[in-house]
Amino acid sequence: MDVLVTQVFNGLSGGSILLLAALGLALTFGQMGVINMAHGEFIMAGAYTAYVMQNVLGAAGLSLLVSLPIAFAVGGVLGVVLEATLLRRMYHRPLDTLLVTWGVSLVLQQLARDVFGTAGVDVPAPAWLSGPVEVLGFSFPRTRLFILLLAVAAFLALAAALRYTALGRRIRATVQNRPLAETSGISTRATDRLTFFIGSGLAGVAGVALTLMGSISPNLGTSYIVDAFLVVVVGGIGQIRGAVIAAFLLGVAQSWIEYSTTASIAKVLVFALIVAFLQVRPQGIFTVRTRSLA
């Protein structure tokens, strides 16, 4: 019973971290089919934003919360710059996009090394987030609860925005049928740019959350980018709710297999499960139904 509770919590927590890292990608990869390898570096930029804010504001409790919107803006601006300068020119060349954004990710990593130094930095968790919460004899780390809540909040906000706002309608229209959306008077250029802003901004938010869990170093992004892509692919491209289900499934699977085997074997088995799943359902958990012929 103890193990059950602990491991389900660890799995959900791992899933929430995956979800935060993948949510923005679900938008940019799904919406525009852009394979953005620099997404991990936007996460890193968010983490360093938290570090800078902590140095500016001092008080750790406040700076973490203040960092969230600022990191959203930082990630978003980086994303828009990337979109406007490079990606715009290669929307129909996915392989080129992959190589170009990979190059951008290397450049951003080196930039971080030059600015912040090669050694990792630390953002101390605020007092209200350190240590565990005891519930019925179980201890749950406060940081993990915070990230779980943040991931759920980010997902709900994104889902609501897509469903209820004019921007959301434009995004969904563009995803489902780009030419028709254009003929209906939707500026797909502006929509693409805004979508990229939001998707990259979410990466920045993920970066702030990840400062509570692990290292903040120039190669932070490389630790999460593959998992983030896996979540999006398993969830079904272009599907936010698919990403949520995939993230939590993968998180729970990883933590359960890891408990009864080892971390390395769990990683291999989870990969094997994903491969097997994609054999059966190459389109992922959910797919976008579209009337376009393309």
């Binding site: 103890d2 602990t6 491991q7 660890n10 927590s13 791992g14 971290i17 394979i35 390898m37 392989l95 992959l98 190589l99 990979w102 080196q110 090394r113 090669t118 050694a119 990792g120 930095v121 630390d122 953002v123 101390p124 968790a125 350190s130 240590g131 565990p132 201890s139 780390p141 406060r142 940081t143 993990r144 509570l212 869990m213 692990g214 290292s215 903040i216 170093s217 120039p218 190669n219 932070l220 490389t222 630790s223 999460y224 980018i225 593959v226 892509f229 990883q254 933590s255 890891e258 408990y259 080892t262 971390a263 390395s264 990683k267």
Partner: protein, 419 residues
């Protein structure tokens, strides 16, 4: 020590690209190796007022974090040697190459330094995989490598001088210390590659001979970032202490998780062999304060030689920089080479090898002496505790330099490990 964080697959095309790059590098190394005669005559030029030496460190890629610091301290040593008149009256001319965190590039650049630049010796390498990749290059060209990082032992080449600790100068003293503290059970946590696996074999053999129970053993893939499950297992096993051989960024995630679950050095200390002064800042002092570590050098060592080293380093690279064990071992390695060359009266590799045994240097860590048999150096083991200032303070010392024993031949309980 150690290897970098895992190169993770970054999508099919990225992998393909990386594969192409790697195979291209491999091909070039092979070609160069095959093209060179088995024992080509040395092309080292000793006629001028300068002598070339090679520095081979990763200044890009994932290992740059660690290896840049070694490069800095090597540069400092070269500067000081030149200012004091050089080696055999010749000024050192540094040829620096970037190993780029890739073992194949280390092998390729080593080949270049030896055959094209004609350096008298090469200093560098960090990961065990980079050392293993360079070893055949140095052996086939009969050149010299000075390797500055603690590692898993079980190796001895006449072309390599190992100036970091081997296992009986770091891991065994750490176990002796824990035993003295009354620890009767251990939980082993490490990264999933050669150094932790070998270290844990030794720890298990030591435990069996000394009545220390091993309550569990967990390995995390390199670059692993989620330690919830592993730390839960550690907590539930309830061992007296944790022996940590994690490498790189995994340490940050591990110690944050450890503290977040309410575990402390008082209830279950975690002794580490890969965390030095440089890493403490990234982990966060709050997350690791009071935890023990095992090395042979700390910045806080109170001696005139160390004070000079630390002051010179800070003057050169900034007051906020720290000095660590691998940096000190690299700094020392250049002076040891100088000592060997001057004892031999020649830069010739065979003469240097013959003169090496017994060469001694008053290093920042204390006096070290080269073992002519296995090319390691005798050094003193120090267990330290991480202080609130982020520095490491000596708690326990072996008292005198420990003779290097890379194959653990002098430990009866270790028989069979080296096979």
């Amino acid at each position: 020590m150690t290897t970098s964080r895992s190169r993770r697959a970054i999508g099919a095309a990225a992998l393909l690209t990386a594969g192409l790059v790697l195979s291209a590098c491999g091909a070039r190394v092979d070609a160069a190796g095959a093209g060179a005669p088995a024992a080509a005559p040395s092309c080292v030029d000793t006629s001028g007022n300068e002598i070339k030496v090679g520095f081979l460190n990763s200044r890009s890629g994932t290992m740059a974090i660690s290896e840049k610091t070694v490069y800095d301290s090597l540069s400092l040593a070269a500067e000081q040697i030149n200012a004091a008149g050089g080696v055999l009256g010749k000024q050192l001319e540094i040829v620096a190459e970037d190993g780029a965190s890739e073992p194949t590039i280390f092998a390729e650049k080593a080949q270049k330094l030896i055959r094209s630049d004609c350096v008298a010796a090469v200093f560098g390498g960090w990961t065990s995989s980079s050392r293993k990749a360079m070893l055949p290059v140095f052996e086939s060209n009969n050149s010299l490598l000075f390797y500055p990082v603690q590692y898993e032992g079980l190796e001895s080449s006449k072309n390599i001088f190992y100036t970091g600790a081997t296992t009986n100068q770091q891991i065994i003293p750490a176990l002796d210390y824990l035993k003295e503290q009354g620890v009767t059970s251990l939980f082993l946590v490490g990264s999933d590659y050669v150094f932790p696996q070998t270290a844990n074999k030794i720890i298990k053999a030591y435990g069996a001979a000394n009545g220390i129970e091993i309550k569990g053993e967990e390995y995390a893939p390199l670059g692993h970032t989620d330690f919830a499950t592993i730390v839960s297992k550690v907590r539930d096993a309830g061992a007296g202490a944790v022996f940590n051989t994690l490498n790189g960024d995994s340490n940050v995630a591990f110690f944050k998780e450890y503290r977040n679950l309410g575990l402390t050095p008082a209830t279950m200390p975690v002794i580490s062999v890969s965390i030095a002064e440089e890493e403490v800042g990234g982990i966060g002092v709050d997350n690791i304060v009071g935890q023990p570590v095992a090395w042979n050098y700390y910045q806080t060592i109170d001696s005139p030689t160390n004070k000079q080293f630390v002051d010179a380093f800070k003057a050169e690279y900034g007051a906020n920089r720290v000095t660590s064990d691998p940096m000190e071992a690299a700094y020392t390695s250049l002076f040891l080479w100088k000592g060997m060359v001057e004892k031999a009266g020649s830069f010739d590799v065979a003469a240097v090898q013959a003169a090496a045994g017994g060469v001694s240097y008053d290093a920042p860590e204390g006096t070290v002496t080269v073992n002519g048999e296995n090319h390691h150096i005798a050094k003193t083991a120090l267990i330290g505790k991480i202080g609130a200032d982020g520095l490491i303070h000596t708690e326990w010392t072996s008292g005198q330099p420990i003779e290097p024993d890379p194959y653990l031949k002098t430990y009866p309980w270790a028989s069979g490990l080296a096979s």
